[in-house]
Every structure is written in C-alpha cells, then in structure tokens.
Point group: C2
Chain length 278, copies 2
C-alpha cells in the first residue's frame, strides 16, 4: 500500500486531525487534504500534524473557480488561488488541484469562460512556480461543465496547460471524471509524455446517478469503471506517484471512517494495485 493516499473528503465527517490519525493508524503513506479542513485546524498546525504522523501530502484540494468575468470576481479568484498556493507549499505538497469553475450566473458562453481560465492560469503560474507548486487542472465529468468546470477532457486540460512548463501546470487523472472519454488512451499517454500527470485519483462511477449528482462517486468495484484498463494506461506513462481515493458519497460519509479506509484498502489492493508496476 506504499502509494495509497486517503483524500480526506472520503471520510468527510472526520476533522483533519482525525483523518490524519486514521490514515496513520491504517498504515497509509499519504493523505490528500482539503482547504476547509486545513483552515479549521490552522495551516501551520495542519502541516505539523501531517509531518509528525510521517505522512506525505499527495495533493491539496482545491483552488480554481477562475471563470468570473467581472473585475472584482477576477481579483477575488486570484487572491484566493494565491492563498491556496501558499497553503500547498506550507503543507509540503506540490500539487494544488484546480476545479476551474463553470459558467457565471446567467452566462452561456462556454468559449468565453474557457478563455478566462487560460488567462487566470497565465496570471497564476509564475506565483505557483515561485512557491514550488504546480497548478493541477482537473477535467471534470461533462455533467458538471456548466456549473463547476468548463474543462471536461484530459485533451482539453493539456491544451490549456501547453503554454506553460510542466513544472508549473499539470493535470490530474480522476477515473470518475474521465472513464467515458473515447480519447482517454491518447489523453493519458499524452499527459505522460508531457510529464504533466500530477495525481491519479480513483473512485467508481455509480449508477443510477445520485439525486445530488456530485455524490455519485462510489467505492472502487461498486460502479461501472474498468480500473484495470485505466490504471494500466496511467502506469504505462511511468507515473509513480500516489494514488488517491476521493469519494463523495452519502452512504460512505455515514459509515465509520476506519471501516471506510479498510474497505478502500481492500478494493485498492484487488482492483488497482495489480495494475501498478512501480
């Protein structure tokens, strides 16, 4: 389990301190953190907690929401993302996950929103580089295109990353968001060739889609995703980083955290690990 990371959104009811304890208790080597839980604990204290537990921070979730069209919205987004970059750096991770944002209220211009994302990435990349942090673009499932992320595919994320060095702008491969993509094989291979895979996140796609569509993520094996195929594609690129389990799911959130970690460890061992060669 040398690469298995608990994204702490998976054990949502736990504080950061509880999640760090739980991950350490289970022998996991890493955690993926969320800013709200970090803020609750305090940034310096969070960094110390994780360090003292001997854990890596595989990523920080999340910056982004870069699509505002008005001056004050743009300024607020840049300030918030600079803060997130500093937080990532302080926590000891170089991976700041970005959910880039959807359409502004009442706006229907996807092309315009995507242009603004490109502009904000250009604004932020030097600041990120100076802090040793990569902006990690997350393509989200197209069902969230209008309200959460106007980036829907790896190819699109890589096109947006292309003007910047791989040390500054990267991508995350999240099985839930990309499994459907007919160009997935090419997208993952390209991401690898360009040295831009900053994170591999696994969870399943459950059917039927949950009433709150954000909560349709499932434990590996409970849904429709072929983890052998996708893990094999990621592994073939030479990716040797952590594998984060990030699940938003009401049933899982209502289960005891230790049990969730035990289940995810078993499923990881059975469905993901056999397809990792590193």
């Amino acid at each position: 389990m040398g690469r298995l990371s608990l994204n702490i959104a998976t054990t949502k009811k736990w504080t950061l301190r509880e999640a760090v304890d739980g991950a350490a208790r289970a022998g996991l080597p890493a955690v993926g953190l969320w800013r709200d839980r970090v803020a609750e604990e305090g940034l310096a204290e969070s960094a110390k907690l994780v360090r003292d537990a001997g854990l890596r921070v595989s990523s920080l979730c999340r910056g982004g929401f870069l699509t505002a069209a008005d001056v004050s919205g743009v300024r607020a987004a840049l300030e918030d993302n600079r803060a997130a970059i500093v937080e990532a750096s302080t926590l000891g991770t170089d991976a700041l996950i970005l959910v880039v944002g959807g359409l502004p209220e009442g706006d229907r211009d996807l092309a315009g929103a995507r242009e603004r994302v490109a502009e904000r990435i250009a604004d932020l990349a030097p600041f990120a580089r100076d802090h040793g942090v990569r902006l990690v673009l997350e393509p989200l499932h197209p069902m969230y295109c209008a309200d959460r992320a106007v980036i829907s595919t790896l190819g699109q994320a890589l096109d947006l990353a292309a003007p910047h060095p791989a040390e500054e702008v990267a991508v995350v491969v999240d099985t839930f968001h990309v499994f459907w993509d007919p160009a997935l094989t090419d997208g993952i291979a390209r991401a690898g060739r360009e040295n831009r895979i900053a994170s591999y996140q696994v969870c399943d796609f459950n059917l039927p889609i949950a009433q709150d569509a954000l909560l349709s993520r499932g434990m590996m094996g409970d849904g429709v995703i072929d983890f052998a195929a996708i893990t094999g594609m990621v592994d073939a690129t030479g990716y040797s980083g952590d594998v984060e389990v990030e699940i938003f799911n009401a049933d899982i959130w209502n289960s005891p955290g230790d049990q969730v970690i035990a289940t995810m460890t078993t499923r990881y061992r059975d469905l993901v690990l056999p397809h990792l060669t590193r």
Copy 2:
C-alpha cells in the same frame, strides 16, 4: 416555422394521432416519431395519418442497443434494427436515430462495447441502404455512457461512421448531448464537410440534473445552452433540414400538449430561428 419539427416524445402523453393532429393544428411542417407510438397505432395507419396531415417525418426514434456480446443478443439487436429500418422507410423518413447502447450488465469494457457497435453498424448498413434509410448515430451525453450509449462525442460518432458512405451512416447533433464538448466546433464542421448531419435536435440542459437523469432535458431558454452558438455552427455547414424539439421532462409532459407546442414555437422563434439562414 418552416423547419420546426415536434418530436413526439416532447408531448409524451399524446398518442401518435393526437401528436400529429396537434402539430398540424399548430402549423408545424414535420414530426419526429417514436416506434412505440407507431406500433400502438399500426405502421401503415401511422404512415397514412402523417401523410394525410401533410407533415414530413423528420426522424424515427429509435434503433440501436447494439452492444450485446452474446450470440442471441446480437441476433435480437439485428432483427430489431432491421424492423426499425423498414418502419422508417414505410413512414417516409430516411433518418433512423440510433442510441447505440451501454455496457452489458456487469461488463466494464467500453472499448469492447464500442467495437461491437462498429461491427453491428457494418452488419446493418447495407440493409439500411437498400431501404433508403440512413443509420443516424446519436452521441449521448457522457453521463449516459455506461448505461445507454458508449458513443459520447460527435468526433467519435464520425469515426464510427467513417468506413461507410454518408448515404448509409450519419449523425444527429442534439444540443443537450453535445453542448459541453470542447471540440464541438470542429465536430459539427467535420460532420457537415462529410455530409453526415441527418438531424438537428434542440432542447436545453437543465440544472440541477433531474432525479431521473434522463429527464433533465429542458425547454430552450430554461437551461445553460447557448443556442445561438450551436445553431450557428450547424447552419454554417449548410444544413437545411428540420430542427426537431425533443424534450424529456416531467413538468413538460404534465402540461397540455397544445401549450407545450406554443411554448416551444415561441422559444424556437426567439432562440434558434434567428441563427438559421436557410
């Protein structure tokens, strides 16, 4: 309104006869039909009803469900689709819409399912050609990839169509399914260049996603789709065929059919028609 077609799924509670009467009463020139309503009325009688009302049949929904992996499943799919081709021909439309199907129960191999779709299209194309009918591949929104259609983008549909002449295999552009696609401009332009746009279907994408995800389709203007942009792309290809309104939505289904047609006509006039030059 010379190109506006009522897909009769929009007025779901109406029989075919009622929908034909309603469309004719509203002065529409065309209807898109569904096989279940045709079967209920009888094929010959349905054809006569539409003809006598002076309406075109813009499309027949639907064939497809081609992903079965077992011999009897393959045979059943081919039989059903041959029947659908004969029905389309009898009804006087050359457009048989295909929803190609998702993963077989318990199967997670998307690449395999897509290969079988390609094989079944090759099986069916000669029969379709002999009946003057085109197999019209419908890319469905990726949220339906696993359970309804392993074709998710226009580019993918066109790749599947490529081995066949445009008179045999074509595609439908349905705003709901494709609006999110970052490669949409290219996909529509390519579909036009290859003479494969058999149908343009319009409806909106409502948020939040409905509890039954299939019913998240909305009346144009009620959701997040930019009809000016997409209609402009379709128009720029030279497409001069019917524009079908196909909406699955519980509230709309519970409204009187004449009122639904009146609303869709107004929305079409305001949001779609200004961007059509033909």
